[in-house]
């Protein structure tokens, strides 16, 4: 579970860094990067985290 949570956090962190870079200068390229790479990375991070929690609950508790 911990490994999956860390993977989720890395995805989320990368997504946020891309969004931060885009927010510093909005151009068509940064907008696309933010929407097509940044947001999906955050969604993948969220899904990974929720999957880890779901698996942990199914197996009967925290690691």
């Amino acid at each position: 579970m911990i490994r999956t949570i860390r993977r989720a956090a890395i995805c989320t962190g990368l997504g946020l860094v891309i969004q931060l870079a885009a927010a510093l200068d909005w151009t068509p390229l940064t907008f696309i990067a933010s929407a097509v790479i940044g947001l999906p990375l955050i969604l993948v991070g969220a899904l990974l985290f929720l999957r880890a929690v779901w698996k942990s609950l199914k197996s009967g508790g925290p690691p």
């Binding site: 579970m1 911990i2 949570i5 860390r6 989720a8 956090a9 890395i10 989320t12 962190g13 997504g15 946020l16 860094v17 969004q19 931060l20 885009a22 927010a23 510093l24 909005w26 151009t27 068509p28 390229l29 907008f31 696309i32 933010s34 929407a35 940044g38 947001l39 955050i42 969604l43 991070g45 969220a46 985290f49 929720l50 929690v53 925290p62 690691p63």
Partner: protein, 201 residues
């Protein structure tokens, strides 16, 4: 202008994610910690992301954003030409449209889903810019609709009191006669190339 609050919020989000990554093991061991992880790794980043993208969408309507592609630079310069007949220049120089959203104000449809259509067209521009290549001559995807002009000029005194407008008003509203058939020059590229610009005193 830099969206300071947004940048700070995103920066805080990144720092929080790093801290939560380092403290994942102890936090995951108890219920409150898992809620902290849920908020810090899922809810907050999603909220920040939606906020950031929504700001990005609003920025994509700005004149600066449109003109950031080099193929639009000449159209940007056409806002400054010294020609009282050129529509883009007249509207920009006389502040008939907001200067910060000049392109968007005239080039978005005011019908239902006009904003969505404009944004989808924007994606087509981006595709052309980065992937398929910019055509040698830049044209509108479809004929410029009168409704865009009439959205502002419809009941304005200068428009209504012109005899010629009154005489063909039904055709103008039906779109069978284009406003551009009389007001021919939208962007005066000849004067852009000749460097004939209006200078404010």
């Amino acid at each position: 202008m830099l969206p300071t609050q947004l940048v700070v919020a995103l920066l805080v989000g990144v720092v929080l994610v790093v801290l939560l990554t380092m403290g994942a093991r102890p936090l995951a061991a108890h219920a409150v910690g898992r809620i902290v992880l849920l908020v810090g790794l899922v809810a907050l980043p999603l909220l920040l992301s939606v906020g950031n993208l929504s700001y990005g969408v609003s920025q994509s309507s700005s004149t600066r954003f449109c003109l950031s592609c080099h193929e639009m630079e000449r159209f940007g310069r056409s806002l400054f030409v010294d020609n009282r007949q050129a529509l883009a220049a007249v509207h920009y120089q006389n502040r008939l449209v907001p200067r910060e959203n000049t392109c968007y104000t005239c080039h978005k449809d005011y019908a239902l889903f006009g904003d969505v259509k404009a944004k989808l067209n924007g994606l087509r521009h981006v595709w052309a810019h980065y992937v398929s290549g910019v055509p040698a001559q830049i044209k509108l995807y479809e004929a410029y609709p009168n409704s865009n002009c009439l959205h502002c000029h419809d009941d304005s005194r200068r428009f209504v009191e012109k005899d010629v407008h009154r005489s063909i008003s039904s055709q103008l509203y039906a779109g069978s006669v284009s406003c551009l058939s009389c007001h021919r020059i939208a962007h005066d590229m000849t004067k852009v190339d000749a460097h004939q610009f209006w200078q404010a005193q």
